[in-house]
Each structure stands twice: as C-alpha cells, then as structure tokens.
C-alpha cells in the first residue's frame, strides 16, 4: 500500500480495498522498518493521525468525497500544525508548539488529509544537504552514504522511501527541486505568491514558496489544486485565479517550444547528468515539442545575487528569535542584551549564524548600496533574461542540479561550493517563476537525475502538462530504491 500514489489510494479508499486506518498503519510500519536508516522525520504525530484516519473512515462510509480523505501526508517541519511541534530543524525551536495551523495545513486537513509527521530539514531551510539539521542528517534512500539534498531533504527522502504517500516542502533557492532530483521524486515550486505562506516559518520572504513533493506529476497537480490560491492572512499571496491543474495534464503538447539555455548545458555540468538531460530533450521532441536555443546571460551572477539578498532577508526575519516570546532562551544572562546574544549563540547552528552575519553585512551602513541594492539591481537583470527567453519559447528545460547527490560530509566545510551547486534552481526563485524537477534517469552508480522544467509566471499548467506527458513516455518515476 505504501508504494501507491495519492490518486491510487484515493481510488482504493473509495472502493473500500482498505481503510484509511489500515493505510496509515501500513505507512507507520514502513517508517518503523526503514526510518533507522533514513531519518526522514523529526517527529511523528501518531495519535492525532490515527484520529484523523478514523474520522476519514467514518466520512468515507457516509459517502463523503473530500479530495484527500484518508491520504497520509508528511509536512516539512517549518509548516505550523496546531498543537504539535514545529522545530524548523533548529535547537531554538526544538520545543515550540504551534499555536495555529498554517493555511496549507488547514487546507490539507479540510480536504481530509491525515498528517503523519514532520520531516527533517536544514536548520531554517538554510542548506542543500539536510546535514544542517540541529538533530541529525537524513540519508538518501538510493545510497545511504549520500545526502538526500536539501533543505526539504526529509520530505523528498520520505516520498522516495515510501514513508508517506506525498509531502509538502518549501523552496527558497531550490529546496524542493534539488532534493526531489537527488531522491528521484517529483517536486514543484509554484510561482512566487501562488501558495499562502501564513504559518510558514520565514527564511527569505521575497523567495520562499511552499510546494508538493510527490511520486508523480499528476499527484503534484492534484496537491497544488488544494494548496494554491489567495489567502487574506498572507498579503503576498497573489490574487490570481487558480486554474484546473488536473485538466491541464492531458492537453496536447504538440507544437510547443522548449527553450534550452546554453548556460545550463555548459562544461560545469557532470557528463552523466548532461547525457540524461539530452536524452530527456529527445523524449520531449518525440512528443512534438520543438527545441530552441535561448540565452540567460546573467546566469553566472545568480548565485552571488541570491546569497546577498536571501541572507539579508534572513538576517531581518530571524531577528524574531530572541528568547522572549517563544522558543529557547539562554538562562542566567545578566541583562537583556546578553540574553539575546547568548540565546542566539546557543540556539542557532553554524550555517544559520553565517547567513545572518552575511546578511547583516550586506545591510550595514556603508555596504548597503554596494551589496544589497546592487543585488536587487542584478536581480532585475536576471528576471529580464527570463522575460526575453519566454518570447521565444513556452517553457524552459535543463538540469536541475549540475551533479547527482553529494556524499555525506562532502560539502560541510566548503559552504561556497555548496552554494554554487544551486545555480540552476535559485535563478528561478530570483525571477519568481514556477519550476519542477522530475526524474529523468540514473547515473552508472544508480543515483537519480532530475530534469528541471521552468514555466512563465503563474503558468504551472504548462510544466505540469509537459511533466505528465513525459512520465507517460518514461518509467524513471516508477522505480524505487532497495531498502
């Protein structure tokens, strides 16, 4: 049962092949069997999940057909769930119990979902390996000596290892798509503003976006339908109508144009990754899609721009963690200022401190124009590159990450190298576009490779449509790791 997709378990539950309670127990049995090797979760909510499953069974028996009735879903542990812990992978929030539900959590519950637990992540979503979790690293289900990527590494590993039916993650610079590609699953970052962030612990507010991590593109479309839409509780959620994503999956793609950015097919990409991406382009051509070469000339500046801006925003956002209103407080400080300083020293991990300090630098007097404003200006140029590219094509395709999954500990002492590996994903966040990673092959060492599809603003439909047609032609997404 645990291997199934959302759409499959929906069908099975409706046809009474098994109950929501049985499905939930099969997931928890699976977690018991493999979690020791993977560490996808920070905590499980067995008690409330069992209650939700019982309620789902009662509703199913009464003929209720809510869209996620009885479907076990995992949430990245920075999405608030009322009455349960939301740690953000940090010591500073280790014992924080959310006083309310995030809008996405509320929407999932209203749709009948069973929230099984909260997944591991890099502390405050700052990282590309999930090793920056304050609790423990997560392993890649395809190769336990490698990272699952990050920061939504727990969500991607849980989906790949069948420890849930689907999950939600968040993506600030690639944190849904990169772990999805490393773990061989589907991960969608919707357009900036598409999904409400009320109740999402903020990292960099002009980038953060919540999205689905699933076994198929169809499941990603299905979950998106539920979580997308304007929310009065989040003034940055866009007031744009949400199309019928499920209907868009089956549209005819013949005659569409795919843009191939020459900067994304450069010598810096691992040869095996490149070969598989090129084979995927052939699959697209077989579907009647015409490849056109495009240019994104400011790509080389994306990493520098992103780290200045995201760290500046983080340094402001994370000032709220000061030991006063919630979370960890360092005791025995003589005065208030020392209490702030000690709380933050003891509560934050190394990577979070590094980014807060970098952000404080970029925003500090004398450097604000040269770094922060400069970054915002280059961001304009990067956005314009995409605007121009979309005059020539309907969507863009390329590698998601220049390399397959890193070895554990490989990037720990070289943050700059880790930042550079995010080049293809974070450009998409700078421009606020929708992006999706789908499985498109394996290396000779059997590590998954992800194809990234990038759409115009608020055009998730096209990339979901293409992704679904791609998955009809290929079976990479049907493979599971041996655990």
């Amino acid at each position: 049962m645990h291997r199934k997709t959302i759409l499959q378990v929906r069908e099975d539950l409706k046809n009474k092949k098994y109950s929501a309670c049985e499905l939930l127990e099969s997931i928890y049995n699976r977690i018991d069997a493999v979690e020791e090797k993977i560490h996808s979760y920070i905590h499980l909510s067995k008690e409330s999940a069992r209650k939700q499953a019982e309620e789902a069974d009662a509703r199913i028996a009464s003929g209720d057909d809510a869209p996620l009735l009885g479907v076990p879903i995992a949430l990245k542990d920075l999405i608030c769930t009322k009455g349960s812990r939301t740690t953000c992978g940090s010591k500073i929030l280790e014992n924080f119990v959310s006083p309310y539900d995030a809008t996405v959590a509320k929407k999932l519950k209203e749709a009948g979902a069973v929230i099984i637990g909260k997944t591991n992540m890099d502390e405050f979503a700052m990282g590309s390996t999930t090793e920056a979790s304050a609790f423990y690293p997560t392993a890649n289900p395809w190769d336990l000596s490698r990272t699952p990527g990050g920061s939504s590494g727990g969500s991607a590993a849980a989906v790949a290892a069948n420890e849930c039916i689907a999950a939600l993650g968040s993506d600030t610079g690639g944190s849904i798509r990169q772990p999805a590609s490393f773990c061989g699953v589907t991960g969608l970052k919707p357009t900036y503003g598409r999904v409400s962030r009320f109740g999402l612990v903020a990292f960099a507010s002009s980038f953060d976006q919540i999205g689905p991590v699933t076994k198929t593109v169809a499941d990603a479309a299905y979950l998106s339908q539920i979580i997308c839409g304007n929310d009065p509780m989040d003034s940055t959620s866009a007031n744009v109508p949400v199309p019928n994503f499920m209907a868009s999956l089956e549209k005819n793609v013949n005659g569409l144009k795919v843009g191939l950015p020459k900067e994304y097919f450069s010598s810096g990409v691992d040869p095996e990754v490149l070969e598989n991406i090129q084979n995927s382009i052939k699959v697209l051509e077989k579907l009647g899609i015409e490849p056109v070469e495009i240019e994104l000339p400011h790509t080389q500046y994306a990493v520098a721009t992103y780290y200045i801006l995201a760290c500046a925003e983080a340094s402001a956002n994370l000032s709220r963690f000061d030991g006063v209103k919630y979370g960890f407080r360092s005791e025995n400080s003589k005065d208030l200022n020392k209490m702030y300083m000690n709380t933050r020293q003891e509560g934050f991990g190394e990577e979070v401190k590094r980014r807060i300090i970098l952000g404080a630098f970029a925003l500090s007097s004398g450097y604000y124009d040269a770094y922060y404003i400069k970054g915002q200006k280059v961001r304009t140029l990067i956005k314009r590159d995409f605007d121009r590219a979309f005059e020539k094509c309907d969507f863009i395709a390329g590698p998601n990450s220049p390399v397959p999954a890193f070895k554990l500990n490989e990037k720990l002492n070289d943050p700059l190298q880790m930042y550079l590996s995010d080049i293809f994903t974070l450009s998409v966040n700078l421009a606020g576009l929708p992006g999706m990673s789908i499985p498109c092959g394996f290396t000779s060492q059997n590590l998954p490779i992800g194809l990234q599809l990038i759409g115009r603003p608020f055009d998730e439909e096209t990339i979901l449509n293409i992704g679904n047609q791609f998955q009809k032609e290929t079976d990479f997404h049907k493979k599971f790791p041996n655990l």
């Binding site: 924080f96 006083p99 309310y100 900036y192 503003g193 507010s205 002009s206 940055t236 866009a238 400011h298 080389q300 500046y301 990493v303 520098a304 721009t305 780290y307 200045i308 340094s315 000032s319 030991g323 006063v324 209103k325 919630y326 960890f328 400080s333 003589k334 005065d335 208030l336 200022n337 020392k338 209490m339 300083m341 000690n342 933050r344 020293q345 934050f348 190394e350 401190k353 590094r354 807060i356 300090i357 970098l358 952000g359 404080a360 630098f361 500090s364 040269a370 770094y371 404003i373 915002q376 200006k377 280059v378 304009t380 140029l381 943050p415 700059l416 930042y419 421009a431 606020g432 603003p457």
Partner: protein, 95 residues
Amino acid sequence: MTEKKFDIDNLAKLARINLSDLEKSKLEGSLSQVLEYVELLSQIDTSEVEPTSHVLPLQNVCREDKVAPRDETANYLELAPRKDKGHYEVPQIIA
C-alpha cells in the same frame, strides 16, 4: 581584497549573536571567501537598472477597518520561556 572589509565583532553585535573565538575565526574564513566571490557583481554596470525587491506587481490595498475577534493572548503567552502576570518576563534592561 576583502580581508578587513568586514569587522566580525561589529557584525556579531549588529546581529545580536555572541560568538566564541573559534566561531569567529571559522566564520571569518568562510565569509571572506563568500565576499570575495560576490565581488563578481561589481563587473556589471547597473547604473541604469531599477532594483527588484520582489517580483509580484503588488499594490497597497486598504481593506475596511473592521474589528475581528482574535484574543489569543493566553495561548501565545503560554509559549513564552518566562512570563509573569500576563506579561513577558526578561532580564534587567538598564544596567
């Protein structure tokens, strides 16, 4: 080039993070590397470019000023590490 551009003690103060000597030297090392890398941006002429703070075409919209019942004081106060008589309790502010 960037070795003395930033003063780690001052930044730690601005960021309200106490740092041990070991942390300082580690952060100084990795941050100078990162800052050297972001110098890349100085290659681009942006004199004619407007900054982008976010990508949404948002405008301020004023909604009707309506009072909505939302008294969560007790629930939120419950989360505080220290509280006293309906207030947050903190160490001495003025020494």
